[in-house]
Symmetry: C2
Subunit: 432 residues, 2 copies
């Protein structure tokens, strides 16, 4: 961190509102750098990212490091039956539901050092800052580090918070993942799959849930805005599409006689883009996976399989877009003499952030003199599970060039400290 | 074969021109069925196709069977240094260059029982028919079964006739193919790679080259025309295209910020189709191979590699089409914020059939009462190599539903016999 810039920010925000303490940005950076060692590629540096996949040895070691930080911050961490780590700081009325805040520390393979880590370590930093300032809150505070947010694929991840929200799938603990049965993996991190129900939190058991996270997209970075106020986590619909044409000799099959599955797939990919973009809004639509058969330069493609993924804050909107895509697929099939089958493969509902929490994040940022922008979260987060139990809000900070889930993932240190300060301010606003 | 239909055809053609003898269609069918055993899938039947890949044990066995057929037809087969099998029938003036005709008997993996086999066995049938009719010709006749027509990929196939035409690539004999060095493979079928130059035929060393083959496309079958007169073998240009975008999170990357390589590839695939189809003519253009990276439903594709293949009787025409495609690729790259690189990967020149040979095939078919259509050959053939040495012509018969290079490849037995009769008539016309 450039200390002068950070102090400059402090001085600026101090002008706006002299009251609350500020986090120690240098310490936050040191903790992020220290955590990055667990899962770092051999011989690499911080800039080489991290592979701290949930339940791996690196994950276990990172969790141990984080629990040590909690203890240094005067907290007594416990591991629940699902493997989530949490710790309470008493309030003046400890019978009240706490303000809950945190994130996760597991990563995707070859991921970055900010996704999850920032929100987890900033949560601990908030408590330590309050301790150092001798500030008590009316409500208790609870710091949480969720277990296995990333997973590898749909329904594998956002596991610890899903267990806490009571949304585990039947039989999920029996699934084998990375060569290990999930139940055994949970035991490895100190959980107890036989008593998984005990990890469940009741609706109303927290006053509100807050999560600081990197944006993972480029909106804030491009706009030069330091704080994003998340409107909600988008709904996701995924469709598996199979296009059946007829594989034939590319030299001997005249153009009008072809039933080219890849040509049909290309029209469909263009159509997905056009249909998604022609409506106003921030919805996205992606054909990310596509395979061709037989896939030879001199054979007209006979079969293509592809995925269509749609995301928006409104499930209804992406359902409408899917219907338009389906209608267009019907026309394309007829024009290309192929068959196109579009089958729903996954659905995740939207999780809207509570308006009052969004407003209090904006107010906190304003007190710190920081510009904000409201935006949806296109990625999934533990917060979406907490939204099913009580008020929820998320704070985003810019991701440089919008890069995430890659070693190049980076957020400027001053933005990390700003985000942690907004978290601190918002926690105080809700904890009284 | 439906014997009554075949006899009907004989009677009809006899009305048109009573002179020449007719092939024995039943025997031709029996020979095709007998040859199909070599390389037949275990437990399969004729309809299950054949895997008689060049130089395989099945190929060696099939070649032995064919040499036996030649001997039965009074011929003395020899194997040249390149592994090609050929045999001469004397003419009344044996100093004249012979009429050369034949095809190949190797197949693609999981191929059919007509591609190559028909032209090879029909050539032997022509000689046997002439022998049985006691008909002598002025010029000698030479039956040839070329070695390794199919290959597996560009430059691997059309090998035996390429050696005969003196067009082998430098170092080609050292290449390892199917786990065996080509030189050793050639030894396996009785060739002599150390004396490969001896397989070369001189320009003018044959009077004309004729090849009967299945169309492998659906033009004749759809039109209900029994005989195709090949105008030439198309030129082929293949381009390897690399499209570089930027892989990013499909949830967090807004549509306008994407650099989606698959979207660009889709526009390009559509453009190839439109550019090729908007001009009159029988040119074809194919995007047959395409791979996506990282190829995950929730990641905007960062890299796509694809092939563009163009074929037409005119090299100039496909070069012009390629330029149009290249220009459109530049626009697409700019519109999608990607980079598109289009690199020439293979070029095969066209081989035009000699007009006088085309006319004599038409005249022969007319004498037999058979309707003809001129058409290009979109597939490569040994004939394209012989065209570099002397007059060349090809006779096509219909492929049912245009299917080839697959077990379902089929040509009606009466069409096989018709094709062999046209070959016989044309041989006689050129042999005097």
């Amino acid at each position: 961190m450039n200390r002068r810039h950070f102090l400059g920010t402090l001085a600026l925000s101090a002008l706006a509102e002299p009251a609350a303490p500020r986090v120690n940005g240098t310490r936050l950076r040191e903790h992020l750098e220290a955590l990055s060692v667990f899962g770092r590629p051999p011989g690499g540096s911080f800039a080489d990212g991290v592979s701290r996949v949930a339940y791996s040895d690196a994950d276990v070691a990172g969790r141990r490091y984080v629990m040590g930080l909690m203890e240094t911050a005067g907290l007594q961490p416990r591991i629940d039956a699902a493997g989530n780590i949490s710790a309470r700081r008493s309030g003046s009325d400890s019978t009240l539901p706490p303000v809950l805040f945190g994130s996760h520390i597991d990563s995707v393979p070859s991921g970055g050092n900010f996704d999850g880590d920032l929100g987890s370590l900033a949560a601990i930093e908030v408590v330590q800052t309050l301790n150092e300032a001798g500030l008590a809150t009316g409500r208790p505070l609870e710091v949480v580090v969720w277990c296995n947010e990333e997973g590898f694929a749909y329904n594998n991840g956002i596991y610890g918070s899903r267990a806490a929200a009571g949304h585990l799938d039947p039989g999920e603990l029996e699934l084998v993942w990375n060569g290990v049965k999930k139940a055994d993996a949970i035991r490895k991190v100190g959980g107890d799959p036989d008593r998984i129900e005990e990890a469940r939190r009741k609706p109303g058991s927290f006053h509100c849930y807050l999560e600081l996270h990197i944006e993972q997209g480029g909106t804030l970075d491009q706009a030069g805005i330091p704080i994003g106020v998340v409107e909600g986590i988008v709904a996701i619909d995924r469709y598996d599409v199979e296009i059946r044409g007829f594989a034939n000799h590319a030299g001997t099959t005249p153009m009008p006689q072809r039933r080219d599955a890849l040509l049909a797939a290309s029209y469909l990919t263009v159509a997905v883009n056009e249909i998604v973009r022609r409506e106003p809004g921030r919805q996205v639509g992606t054909v990310g996976q596509l395979s061709v058969s037989p896939n030879a330069p001199n054979v007209v493609p006979g079969l293509v399989r592809l995925t269509v993924e749609l995301r928006d804050l409104s499930s209804a909107k992406i359902a409408k877009l899917a219907e338009q895509i389906r209608a267009r697929a019907g026309q394309i099939a007829s024009e290309t003499q192929t068959e196109i089958e579009m089958r729903p493969a996954a659905h995740h509902s939207e999780a809207l952030a509570t308006p009052a929490v969004q407003e209090s994040i904006e107010a906190a940022a304003a007190r710190l003199g920081l510009q904000t922008r409201r935006l949806p979260s296109g990625a999934g987060h533990d917060a979406q599970m907490m939204a099913t139990l009580g008020p929820m809000g998320m704070i985003f900070i810019p991701s440089v060039d919008g890069i995430s889930h890659a070693p190049k993932e980076f957020s400027r240190w001053e933005d990390c400290a700003r985000g942690a300060d907004v978290l601190l301010e918002t926690v105080l606003a809700w904890a009284g």
